[in-house]
Symmetry: C2
Subunit: 166 residues, 2 copies
Amino acid sequence: MNDKTKLIPQFVDSTKVFSGRVFEVTVEFDDGTIALVRQYRHPTVKYMMELPAGGLDDRERPEEAAARELEEELGLVAGKLEKLSEFFVSPGFCAEKMWLYLATDLTETARRPEDDEVIEVVRLPIKRALQMITDGEIEDAKTIIGLMLAAPRIGLSAFEPDYPAA
Amino acid sequence: MNDKTKLIPQFVDSTKVFSGRVFEVTVEFDDGTIALVRQYRHPTVKYMMELPAGGLDDRERPEEAAARELEEELGLVAGKLEKLSEFFVSPGFCAEKMWLYLATDLTETARRPEDDEVIEVVRLPIKRALQMITDGEIEDAKTIIGLMLAAPRIGLSAFEPDYPAA
């Protein structure tokens, strides 16, 4: 058993289809910036820029978990939390399902990160984040969807007609 | 071992991170329609509408596999096949990577479907397909990305500012 296996215990039980439940949040500040999280991902063997996200317990409601994670990890309370979409990440081989929210009307509070989590929060204009999709700097499916679905809600096109650059 | 396990042999080897390579294609006809595939997905236990997609062998180039699959499964030869994006489906737990193409300038040819594949091809306007994302009728991550990234290339916004309906 190698190090990577230890990180994904779900794979050890070969009698089950992997069926995780996950939430993600596009956090939009009043100044038009959004929050991305930069973290090392063992499966892809690199640092990746992603929207804040987290796993759900069996009986947990996605919107409650999303609100709690925002407060603990980003130190933010969202006055408004809207569901933008729910979708399956790769229905051909697993049942992992994702709930996507847009958080706005934010108030800052104290962060309470868990000990084992090393994440770096990066705040940047959503236009810049959309450009990072075009440029291949954002390459996480849930983050691409979360940014593209949030953009029109905050007065932007997901992409200009000339996307991507030749 | 249950039926589902037999369908996803990758899960049997617990010492590896799942690392499939997959291509998908947004097929755009001259009349503004695109092709979706309707098929039963065991992991999600339902029929789903998705863009045409398929797995890659270790040494296979994604664009070659995409062109071959278009011809075999849809009976189409693409005069133009452009890469729109590449991304990871769920980097938190697996290394599955996806290559997305836009196929245009299509010529019809004879289909050569493999015996074990039961797929239904549905042709519809891309505007209707985008509406199906809003309405939750399309809930496959790669298909959401494939339609949203293709839309601006063929003169449409991915979404109107009022997406999704309240």
